[in-house]
Symmetry: C2
């Protein structure tokens, strides 16, 4: 950035891990003046004030967004339509809006319906970060450092709005990439949504067994890693699967076919072919890990 | 142990991570006199000698086992029949044999065929430990500390033989449990063999995509954990799937049904039911983790 980023008023709607860490990172960079937090839960907003994540708390997003330079929509995607409809009439002509949703086609569809007058300044984004923890208390300024943030700009977007959204995420330490919304949703169906479905289903298939209570204690640790993401928010992940339904189903169909191929080799006792299949998987995983590790 | 464990001569057939760590742990406890290592690969045996894992190296297991107190079979299960047949005529009446195979019914079937005269002193075992690393250079004395070792003693076993095997694994720092062979194989089909098949199939289903090379870089880390065990030895895991075929197929069938149930909810747009399914998985995982963490 030639010019130093300065956001006089930032409004974060949904002050959880994602929204709170965004505010803290921009504060750390002295890139932001006033931070207003909006949320439904009084206790969480009080915690966010106490922790210095936000400077003011508000219950009504319509009042909060007045004269904002930047608004981050960081609440669950299920609340997106209601919040957009509520804030739309109150967005100033210069206010830029961005979001943190894990799926982009659905958020864009909501924006086209509810943010029509502000569409030029709505820049869809997906920060690829998070942990199993949630709430303002989990927020920390380093969450986005070195992580990917995908922007999925609209054809209608004003270049200055995209520049501001990009600069804000970069100021958080993120690597900012650009993808078309459909490409984004297809990629994340594969690398994120499918693995979550796989992990939830694996846990459930074991949990239905009569000997389930004692099972886990026998694992050497492999199972624990494989199902770690089954600890993620059921509400959020059910929403994501629904929002990205067509592409998740396409990934699931490929995976089910692959599993059936593997099952058939085991059933027919084809040890050599099974070994080759496992070798292909190990080689692919190693090819993936090397560049990922080099990136640090 | 009332009496201090003392193994004058230990023979380790297959001086890799598992066999090498067993020898090192017993040496650290001063529970062992001479350690003879047997292997097919000269370089690996030389490394084991250099690292002080073994005191003598041998290529022929038949010569090595003479006058041994304890023999550990720690080579790939595929080599089990040949090695058992080779050593059987040379086992002294007092020599106890144990193994480190991941499946127990198949190893026991081989022992019944090839170790007939020594069956009373063959104590089947499965140390539940390991990493993606292999070979003598990966061995370390702490590998078994706090880990489970499952014994699956035979009805024919002499009590003194079971006591020696148990004492040896306990001296390595392991928690020794006893299971019937079929129960062992059913439990590990669920908590270990199935998760490996799931992880290999997930990687393969992604690797077949045209956009595969760039995919992994978009993951936030969830995928990396989920497929970590797809880095495991393809030869070993193909062997395990074949050796435990019936029980692996039974687990796979349950898992495929669970996946199909999940897919149907997504396809039909049943968000609330999907959320409940994910909630059940998260709750089961949390129930499992609490005792596992308390165990340290």
């Amino acid at each position: 950035m030639a010019k130093r980023l300065r956001i006089e008023k930032l409004v974060v709607i949904g002050v959880g891990l994602i929204g709170g860490s965004f505010a803290l990172a921009l504060k750390r960079e002295r890139a932001v003046g006033l931070v207003v937090g909006v949320g439904r839960t009084r206790a969480n907003l009080a915690a966010a004030l106490d922790l210095g994540i936000i400077d003011e708390a508000a219950a009504d997003p319509a009042l909060a967004v007045a004269r904002a330079d930047l608004v981050l929509l960081a609440m669950p995607v299920g609340q997106m339509p209601a919040v957009m409809r509520r804030i739309a009439p109150h967005l100033a002509p210069e206010t830029v809006v961005t979001d943190a949703g894990s799926t982009k086609r659905d958020v864009i569809a909501y924006a086209r319906r509810y943010l029509r007058r502000s569409l030029a300044r709505f820049v869809p984004a997906h920060p690829v970060a998070g942990t199993e923890r949630s709430g303002a208390a989990a927020a920390w300024p380093g969450l986005y450092r070195g992580r990917n943030v995908v922007l999925a700009p609209l054809p209608e977007n004003a270049p200055a709005a995209v520049r501001l959204a990009r600069a804000a995420w970069q100021a958080c330490g993120a690597r900012v990439l650009t993808l078309a919304a459909r490409e984004h949703d297809a990629i994340f169906a594969a690398v994120s949504h499918l693995p979550h479905v796989v992990a939830y289903a694996l846990v459930n298939s074991l949990a239905r067994r009569r000997d389930a209570p004692g099972l886990f204690g026998f694992s050497a640790g492999g199972l624990r890693d494989t199902v770690r993401i089954a600890g993620s928010s059921p509400e959020m992940w059910a929403d994501i699967c629904m929002a990205n339904r067509d592409l998740v189903l396409a990934c699931l169909a490929r995976y089910q076919a692959e599993l059936e191929r593997t099952r058939a080799l085991i059933a027919r006792g084809e040890a050599a072919a099974l070994r080759r299949l496992f070798e292909r998987a190990r080689a692919a995983r190693e090819r993936w890990l090397v560049p990922a590790d080099r990136r640090g």
